[in-house]
Subunit: 200 residues, 2 copies
């Protein structure tokens, strides 16, 4: 059985953008499959009664600097979006709809590139998912109807609650076996865990 890396993501999470790219070489090295798991952070924060704090200015400034260091190192055309934060449930639901078409990962790459590389916040709306669906060659109207359906809405709730139930609390998170890795900066630990699995 091939190895599996579950990837909990939200389009609104800057670090999910980086994680989406950084997990690829690791998955390839271990012949592991990456299974995307939409994780609705808005819902998670409400569950945890978490309110985005007023953080000190120096901390926010340092975070932006840090993100650009990562972008430079990994040669990613990252750009902090003008409109931030955005509503992400349409994109999360869109990914679940796209799962039915077998193109979930490709969809993720497109919507993350739109928002985090091209400053295109249209992906905050269902209609804004249209270009990605078109580019992937699926029946766009069927795709959109599915994304907006009650069925997919419930599926997103179930996915998010499932993550919470197993101990996932933020995005990006990766689950390998019973281990949960939080953040874009734990890739080497994931790499080690996959190597360990190979030795069993």
């Amino acid at each position: 059985m091939s190895k599996t890396i579950e990837f909990y993501w939200d389009l609104g999470s800057t670090n999910s953008y980086f994680a989406l790219h950084l997990i690829k070489p690791i998955a390839a090295r271990h012949g592991a499959r990456v299974v995307p798991r939409p994780f609705n952070l808005g819902h998670v924060f409400r569950t945890h009664a978490y309110v985005l704090m007023d953080e000190p200015k120096a901390k926010i400034a340092n975070r932006i600097t840090d993100l650009h260091r990562w972008a430079k190192r990994h040669q990613l055309p990252f750009k902090m979006p003008t409109r931030f934060p955005i509503k992400t449930s349409p994109a999360l639901r869109g990914a679940l709809a796209m799962r039915r078409f077998g193109k979930e990962w490709e969809f993720l790459e497109r919507i993350f590139a739109a928002y985090w590389e091209r400053d295109d916040a249209s992906v905050a709306e269902f209609e804004g998912l249209r270009p990605a669906a078109e580019a992937l060659g699926v029946d766009v109207d069927r795709f959109l109807a599915l994304a907006e359906s009650e069925e997919i809405r419930q599926e997103l709730i179930a996915e998010t609650d499932g993550g919470l139930a197993r101990g996932v609390f933020g995005a990006p998170s990766f689950v390998v076996g019973n281990e949960i890795f939080w953040g874009k900066d734990r890739m080497d630990f994931i790499d080690e865990e996959l190597a360990r699995q190979g030795q069993r």
Copy 2:
């Protein structure tokens, strides 16, 4: 002129324990000097009106798991202390007093080992700093009188405010030239920055 790495630390910061150890090989590789800067997080959090949040249980559990992953990887005998958090201003002031004896770094290693490896919270009090001072062969009574003096108290305030003024907001932080690196997990960026300095 030799390269300098300023290291902002607080004894109560778990990640400062790791950072204290992880910076050493990097400093050695670049022939850089590590200059410790006591940073009173209690004061910083008051300044930022930050109150330690009630974090979700899963997040706290994951943080502990992550710390043990780091300890294992770097073969450090880390142990989460029974008494946590502790008052750290005596240790921070002790370090400044020890600076006058030229043994600040050795003092840091001892108090961090006491608290983070041997579960010894006595270092939360001035009297508890006695064994470290004795082991370092300094005049213990002079050392303690200095650590408790108004002069050193003011010096700690000045050091902490100096850090805040230049944009440091947490511990561990490292300053190399004009760059601030926050956290135990940015060592490779520090390494790169020092390498870049060498090319100028």
